[in-house]
């Protein structure tokens, strides 16, 4: 057996006194060996990022290490001076951050930012620096390295930037690479490429990779060993094989059960009545026009047609830039479409000024992605709920009664109506947003990435809630998402969008079983966790 690369013993990190628990991480112990990917899995607040930041010596000031040791190549990282630790950072240990959009300095070219590492840690000549930078860009498989070398971060896509961040992390051939949710902010196809890059790097650099994630499908894709954390405590650790297929701890089982999977069995037959019909809807943006320069046109949405029948859940799937957000914003007329018709019942929602549409707005409502941004922080939940029906002439008392009933439906207590948004968790807020959208009894509900920001188990809860509400109220739902797995769990029919066009449509089974378009097939093959079937948990616990 080789020596462990990183050996963590009894690590405890305290939270500030006002926190909801005493320790961010408590009694954490694990070993990492070279040429190994260890995945730390947990939901938000489980202490997985704190673990990563402790190893980097980048803990926020409010958090203090209370005890334990963290041996890296035989030296305790926790007893090191700041200066010594800084000497290791970037050289022997390096980190890849979650958000590639902000991890690079926008003022310097990519080449400058990579060479910076060589200038800090070595005494290479500038020609050598450049040569090694080029080699790195090749290694992370970026196209046309000389062009990328001279580019500024804003000229590159998210996936390319994440590759740059990885290149910077790899510059000094570190023995330990810490990746904190490095693919969460990326599109599925990009994620698949970055994950395979990590798998290659493990062997070529003989490095240990500590990979923090919340997604069990990603774990299934790359992990050698898995550590499952809950509220700062390790509840289970073992090889990927053991944890994924024979989870022992109830929490691990709960997380694995919440992994979105295609719904089995045939969808119930749909009614004939059409709830929403879209004909030839299109939108073109004209950007960057100045006095001297002509506008650049972007066809965000090519003429699009689809119909949604009453009681149907239609999934609209696409990656960033596919035009799905433009479609949604046109549908609820936050944007004015250039052309086309939106028929809800016998009213064309695309026609008329926004002001004249106000009365019709109750037919179509939306739940947004960000549970933190979509509630007004300064108004109580009750006030926000009754606002919409009161706009449509419902009296305050009636609206308040309805709010109370909806609180029950979204499984919150009535008392919640008197509170403010800051007192609720992300999942609770999203349930409040659903209740708010339902207050006016809309015909069509749009869920715009409504579960993307939530933890998996909460995500499952909210999806279940949506399915229940749809069944009980006969609601029609447009479910917008980037995640095919989630879409396949809840939708009856799917539409796949790419570059402002619908490239594929059909039932979930048709799309998954027999995709016609090349892009759809690419999306399907990029889904993480293929080849891993969620084990039969009931059989395990028996």
């Amino acid at each position: 057996m080789t020596e462990p690369l990183l050996s963590v013993r009894n690590l405890t990190v305290d939270l500030p006194a006002s926190g909801d628990r005493l320790h961010a991480v408590s009694g954490l112990s694990f070993d990492m060996y070279p040429n190994e990917i260890v995945c730390v899995v947990g939901e938000s607040g489980s202490g997985k990022s704190v673990t990563a930041f402790t190893a980097m010596g980048l803990l926020p000031k409010a958090l203090k290490v209370a005890g334990g040791e963290m041996l890296f190549e035989g030296r305790d990282l926790l007893k090191m001076s700041r200066h010594e630790h800084a000497g290791l950072r970037g050289k022997r240990i390096s980190m890849v951050f979650q958000e590639p959009m902000t991890a690079l300095n926008p003022c310097f070219t990519v080449g400058d930012q990579i060479e910076e590492i060589f200038r800090t840690h070595t005494k290479l000549s500038s020609a050598e620096c450049k040569a090694r930078t080029m080699a790195l860009l090749e290694e992370v498989r970026l196209p046309d390295p000389p062009r990328v070398y001279a580019s500024y971060p804003h000229q590159l896509s998210g996936g390319q930037r994440q590759r740059i961040v990885i290149a910077i992390a790899l510059a000094m051939d570190p023995k330990l690479l810490i990746a904190d949710e490095p693919t969460t902010a990326l599109d599925v196809t990009t994620q698949a490429q970055i994950l395979s890059l990590f798998k290659t790097l493990k062997t070529t650099h003989n490095a240990g990779i500590l990979f923090v994630t919340h997604d069990f499908d990603v774990v299934a894709e790359i992990a050698d060993r898995v550590i499952v954390m809950q509220k700062g405590i390790v509840v289970e650790q073992g090889t990927a094989e053991e944890v994924l297929n024979q989870p022992q701890h109830p929490y691990t089982r709960q997380l694995i059960a919440a992994v979105p999977r295609k719904r089995e069995g045939a969808a119930p037959p749909l009614q004939e009545e059409i709830a929403l019909q879209v004909k030839g809807l299109s939108k073109t943006f004209h950007l960057g026009r100045t006095l001297t320069r002509k506008a650049r046109t972007v066809h965000a949405l090519h003429p699009t047609d689809f119909t949604v029948r009453k009681g149907e859940t239609l999934g609209i799937v696409g990656e960033s830039g596919s035009g799905k957000t433009t479609l949604v914003r046109c549908l609820i007329r936050l944007l004015d479409p250039d052309e086309g018709e939106i028929w809800i019942g016998d009213r064309n929602f695309a026609k008329g000024s926004r002001e004249s549409l106000r009365a019709a707005r109750k037919d179509i409502q939306i739940v947004f992605q960000d549970p933190y941004g979509s509630l007004n922080p300064r108004r109580s939940i009750g006030e926000q709920l009754i606002g919409a029906p009161m706009n449509f002439g419902v009296s305050r008392d009636v609206a308040w009664e309805r709010a109370k009933r909806l609180m029950k439906i979204v499984r919150l207590e009535e008392e919640a109506l008197y509170r403010y948004p800051s007192q609720f968790s992300g999942g609770q807020r999203q349930r409040i947003c659903i209740a708010r959208a339902l207050m006016v009894e809309p015909k069509v509900l749009i869920a715009d990435e409504a579960v993307s920001a939530l933890d998996v188990s909460v995500q499952k809860e909210v999806l279940q809630l949506l399915a229940d509400i749809k069944r009980d109220m006969g609601l029609t739902i447009l479910f917008i998402t980037h995640d095919l797995r989630v879409a396949s769990q809840i939708c009856d029919n799917l539409i796949v969008m790419s570059h402002g066009k619908i490239v594929e449509r059909g039932t979930v089974d048709q799309v998954f079983g027999d995709a016609q378009d090349a892009y759809t097939r690419q999306l399907l093959s990029a889904m993480p966790g293929r080849g891993w079937e969620v084990p039969d948990l009931d059989a395990l616990s028996a």
Binding site: P250, R253, Q254, A257, A258, I332, R333, L334, R358, A359, R361, K362, I364, Q365, I366, F368, Q369, D370, G373, S374, L375, N376, P377, R378, R379, Q384, G387, A388, N391, F392, R411, L412, E413, E415, A416, R419, Y420, S422, Q423, F424, Q428, C433, R436, V440, S457, V458, K460, E461
Partner: protein
């Protein structure tokens, strides 16, 4: 599937502290509020607490020293000025002028600036362009110069000073409100409100304004201090409040000729201006801290 904890946090443990309690926990706010409270009470109760008529001259008792000097006495605790008027009474009455100017200027310029800023920030485009032009134009005008010109044309009086300052000091309100609204306009809860059929005025008042009120309150305090200082400068230059009305700025101006031998004639009104501005600024700082959403709960 394991059931998840859907219950709310226990009431009482998480119920947020009221705004008042949070503000009171801030020592700066507390100090500022007490000091300002004292000055306001003094101004309101001036006729009751001032020992003398602030305008009554007494040529026999000119430049009497305040009580802490060897030749001072308690008949005139802060002494008398060059015309034998009781200095304490003049300071007490002078507070009325300063506060009046501060409050009216802030109301006047606050309304102008907020309306402009909110319109520019919310509607953007051509409205923003037009309002930005107005803001730019205003920023090119030095306040004191314009005030001098106006006073030279219409003569100096309390009314003129309030109007000039009120019509000139809205720039900061407009600039800050504009950027605050632009930031909030794109929040999803505003879009949600649009899709829920809120009319534009209702949306602005119900959804938007409550979220920028903290910034509004903070600028209001700073602008109030600014206006008080400007009044003092204008009066000092002889272009603001006209004698014999007691104004702190004017008192500094009148004390100028005694600077060498009876310097307290300048120091006392100067200290009064200083205290008032300090109190208002500290309250503004405290307000900002107490209203920051992340300091809640």
């Amino acid at each position: 599937m394991t059931s998840l904890d859907l219950s709310l946090p226990k009431a009482g443990t998480v119920r947020r502290k009221g705004f008042f309690a949070r503000a009171m926990a801030n020592p700066g706010f507390l100090f500022g509020a007490i000091l300002l409270g004292l000055i306001v009470t003094m101004a309101i109760l001036a006729p009751l607490i001032a020992p003398y008529d602030p305008l009554a001259q007494n040529m026999l008792r000119r430049t009497v020293s305040p009580f802490w000097m060897s030749d001072g006495n308690w008949a005139h605790p802060l002494g008398t000025d060059g015309l034998g008027r009781d200095y304490l009474s003049r300071i007490i009455y002078g507070a009325r002028i300063s506060l009046l100017i501060g409050i009216f200027t802030v109301i006047c310029s606050g309304i102008i600036g907020t309306v402009m800023g909110v319109l520019a920030g919310y509607f953007g485009g051509k409205v923003d362009l037009a309002i930005n032009f107005l803001i730019m134009t205003r920023l090119t005008l030095p306040v004191v110069m314009v005030a001098l010109a106006v006073v030279a044309l219409f003569g100096g009086s309390l009314m003129v000073v309030v109007l000039v300052l009120g019509l000139l000091l809205w720039d900061r309100f407009a600039v800050v409100m504009r950027s605050a609204v632009m930031q909030i306009r794109n929040q999803e809860y505003i879009q949600a409100a649009q899709s829920m059929g809120y009319s534009t005025p209702k949306l602005l008042f119900r959804e938007l304004l409550p979220n920028i009120f903290d910034r509004l309150a903070v600028i209001a305090t700073f602008e109030m201090a600014h206006a008080i200082l400007l009044e003092a400068s204008l009066s000092f230059l002889g272009l603001g409040v006209q004698p014999p009305t007691p104004s702190w700025g004017l008192m500094v101006a009148e004390g100028r000729q005694y600077l060498l031998f009876d310097s307290w004639l300048i120091l006392i009104p100067g200290a009064a201006i200083c205290a008032l501005v300090l109190a208002i600024n500290m309250m503004g700082d405290g307000l900002r801290d107490a209203m920051a959403p992340d300091k809640r709960n």
